[in-house]
Symmetry: C2
Subunit: 372 residues, 2 copies
C-alpha cells in the first residue's frame, strides 16, 4: 500500500470509526482499524462484530493494499500532528506515515484476519433527510431499555410503510415515538429493531454527512448509507410490543407550561426524591374563578432530608389531579422537545400520561405514573 491523503480528512475518518472500537477486546484484532485501498479511495473500517463502519477518504493511490493498524495509537498520532497531507506506505506489517515535520512507523497486522463488514447496498428500502433522522434519533433512542432483560426493548423499532417512517423506543416505563417523512421508498412495508447503541453512533456520524441517508435491509442486517460513510448493524430478533395501544387518547386534565420552567421545577423536586426512587408528585389545580388558568405544584420529599414544593401558574383545563412520576423520565424528554411550550395531558392517577410540544404532533412521549 502506498497512498497520500489530506490529514484532516483522515483524522475525521479515524475519529468516527475508532469510537466504536473497544479499548480491550477478547479478539485483539478488533482493537485495530483496517486501512484498505478501494477503487481509488482509502477505506477506513472498524467493527465490533455487531456494528461496523466503513469510511471512505479521497486519496492518491500509488500502490493498492490493506493493513490493520492499532486504532488508538493511529488515531492519536493523526489527530495530534499538524500537516496538510500525509503519505502512508506499508513495508510488510509496518506502516510509515510521513508528513513534512512529523513521521512515524507503526506496527500493523495482516488484514486477512480482519472481520469483513458486509455490504448490502443492493437491498435499498427507503431514504430520509439527514436532519429529520438526526432529530428522530435524539428524540427516541434515549427511551430504549439500558439492560438486556428483554432484548427487543434495548433497540429502536423502525417501521416503514409507504411514505412514512415511524421510530419508537420504550423501556416499558416510558415510550417515545417519532414519525418522519420518507424521501424515496420501495413499495413493500418493512419493520426491524436496531440496537440502540448502533443508533447512537449513527446520530454522531450524521453530523458529518450529506443531506440524505439511504437505508438498506436484508433481513439480518441494516445498512445506513451516508454517502462516503456506511454503518452496518446486526438487527435484534423478536417481536416488538404493540405499543400503540398504550398511547392515551382521552384525558382528565391538561396543562400548557414553559419547557425550561417545567425542567427546573422537576429538577428541584428530584433533589429531594433520592430516597424515594426519584418519585415526585405533580398537582394540577385549575382556578375555579378563571377559566383556562391553574396552579402546577411539584413536590419532592425524603423523610431523612426534608421536602420541597414549587408552584407555577400555567394554562390548565379539566379536573384537579395529583399524580406521581419518576422525575428522570420527565427530565430526559424535555431537552429533546423542539418547542418552547409543553403540553402535559393526564388521564388519571394510574393511567399513562402524554407529553408533547405545542407544535407539530409528530412526536409523542408517554410515561407511566408511579403508585403513590
Amino acid at each position: 500500500m502506498k497512498i497520500t491523503c489530506v490529514q484532516e480528512n483522515l483524522q475525521k475518518a479515524l475519529a468516527h470509526t475508532s469510537r466504536i472500537i473497544p479499548s480491550r477486546s477478547s479478539l485483539p484484532i478488533l482493537e485495530n482499524v483496517l486501512f484498505s485501498t478501494d477503487q481509488g479511495r482509502l477505506k477506513v473500517s472498524a467493527t465490533d462484530l455487531e456494528l461496523g463502519i466503513n469510511y471512505w477518504v479521497g486519496a492518491k493511490i500509488e500502490e493498492d493494499g490493506s493493513l490493520a493498524l492499532p486504532s488508538r495509537l493511529t488515531t492519536e498520532f493523526i489527530s495530534n500532528i499538524k500537516e496538510d497531507k500525509v503519505s502512508i506506505k506499508s513495508q510488510g506489517v509496518d506502516v510509515s506515515i510521513e508528513g513534512e515535520k512529523y513521521n512515524a512507523t507503526i506496527k500493523g497486522i495482516e488484514s486477512e484476519d480482519y472481520p469483513l463488514i458486509p455490504d448490502i447496498t443492493k437491498d435499498f428500502i427507503f431514504s430520509v433527510s439527514t436532519k429529520d433522522l438526526q432529530t428522530a434519533i435524539s428524540q427516541v433512542a434515549f427511551s430504549s431499555a439500558a439492560d438486556n432483560a428483554r432484548p427487543v426493548l434495548s433497540g429502536v423499532y423502525f417501521s416503514f410503510d409507504k411514505d412514512t417512517l415511524k421510530m419508537a423506543a420504550t423501556d416499558s416505563y416510558r415510550l417515545a415515538e417519532k414519525t418522519i417523512k420518507v424521501v424515496k421508498g420501495e413499495k413493500v412495508a418493512k419493520n426491524f429493531i436496531v440496537p440502540s447503541r448502533a443508533i447512537m453512533e449513527l446520530g454522531k456520524l450524521l453530523k458529518d454527512s450529506g443531506d440524505k441517508v439511504e437505508v438498506c435491509f436484508d433481513g439480518n442486517q441494516v445498512l445506513f448509507s451516508l454517502g462516503s460513510i456506511h454503518l452496518v448493524s446486526r438487527l435484534i430478533d423478536g417481536q416488538y410490543p404493540n405499543y400503540t395501544q398504550i398511547i392515551p387518547t382521552d384525558f382528565e386534565s391538561e396543562i400548557e407550561v414553559d419547557k425550561e420552567e417545567l425542567f427546573t421545577v422537576c429538577k428541584v423536586a428530584s433533589l429531594f426524591a433520592r430516597e424515594s426512587a426519584n418519585s415526585i408528585k405533580i398537582n394540577i389545580k385549575p382556578d375555579k374563578n378563571k377559566e383556562g388558568v391553574g396552579i402546577l405544584a411539584i413536590t419532592g420529599q425524603g423523610n431523612q432530608i426534608g421536602e420541597s414544593t414549587s408552584k407555577i401558574t400555567v394554562k390548565a383545563l379539566g379536573k384537579e389531579l395529583e399524580v406521581s412520576f419518576n422525575a428522570k423520565y420527565i427530565l430526559d424528554v424535555l431537552p429533546n422537545i423542539l418547542e418552547k411550550k409543553i403540553k402535559l395531558k393526564l388521564a388519571g392517577k394510574i393511567n399513562p400520561c402524554l407529553i408533547q410540544g405545542d407544535g407539530k404532533q409528530d412526536y409523542t412521549y408517554v410515561i407511566m405514573p408511579l403508585r403513590a
Copy 2:
C-alpha cells in the same frame, strides 16, 4: 435564625465552600456547611479539618442564629432555583428556604458540633496582588508531589523576605519556582509549606475576589484573606529542601522554540513512549553553516508499537546534544508559561535542564533528564 439574602450570592458562597467537602466523611458532620449570622452578614463555612473556608454574604438579618445544613442538597437546591432573593428561617433543626416560586424544608444539625475554623487575622505578614498570586499558583502548584512519601514535597513552599515572595514546588524530578512582588509586608522574613490541595482551592477562590490577598501566619496555620472570603489551612511540618542549588546556571546548548510547536512534537513523541515510562529523546543539532540556527528532533519509541520522530527548525546555540526526558514533565509546564517563545537550556546528558519563557525571568522550571 431568620435572614434574607440574594440567591446569586448565596449560590456562589455554597459553590466555593462545598467544593472542599468530601462526599463521604468518617465524621458525618463534615458533610455539612455551617450557616451562621455574623455581624450583620451570613457566614457560610466548610472544613475538612485540614482546610477551612469562611465565606461572608450580605444579608438582612432579622434573627441571629446558626445551623449546619447538608452540603450537597443545600448547594444543589440553591443553584437550581431561579429567584432574586431567598428567605431562610430555622425552626429547631429544620430550615425553611423560601423564594417566590420555590421553597424547601431541609433537615439540619445543631451547629455546636461543627468544628471551629480558626481566625488568625491578627498575624498579618504580607499582601500580594490577586492576579500575581493566581499566576504563581498555576505556574507552581502542579509540580508538587502527588503522594505523601516525603510530606514536605506534597506542599508549596512560601518564602517571604522584605519585598518579595518566592513560591516553589518540586516532586524531586522537576522543580517550579516563581518570584512575585509583595504589595505590603512586615519586617520579619518567614517561610512555610502549605499543602498543595489548599493552594489549588485558593486558586479557584481567587477568580471570585478583589485585587489583593492578605496572608496571615501564626506558626501552625496560614490564612489567606480575600476580603469576604477566608481560607485557612494547616501547614506541613518539616524542612523544605534547599532547592536553589539544583537550578543550573551553566549550559552546553540552548534553543528558542515556539511554545505550541514544542507542545505538539512532545505530545506526538509521547504517544509512542507508553512502553518506556514516557521517555522521549530530544536531539539538538546546531547548523554548522548557519550561526544561531539548528534542528530540534524529538523521538518516541516503543518496541511493540513503532516509533515517531518530528523535526523542527529552531534558534540554537552551543553544542550538539541528545538527552532523554519524561514527556509529561515538559507537557505539564508549557501551558503555564505566559510567553509564546520558550527557551530550553541544557547542561549535558545527566544534568538538570532549564525551561523558561523568553520574557521576564521570574519563573523557572527545572527537569532532570532520564538515563537513556
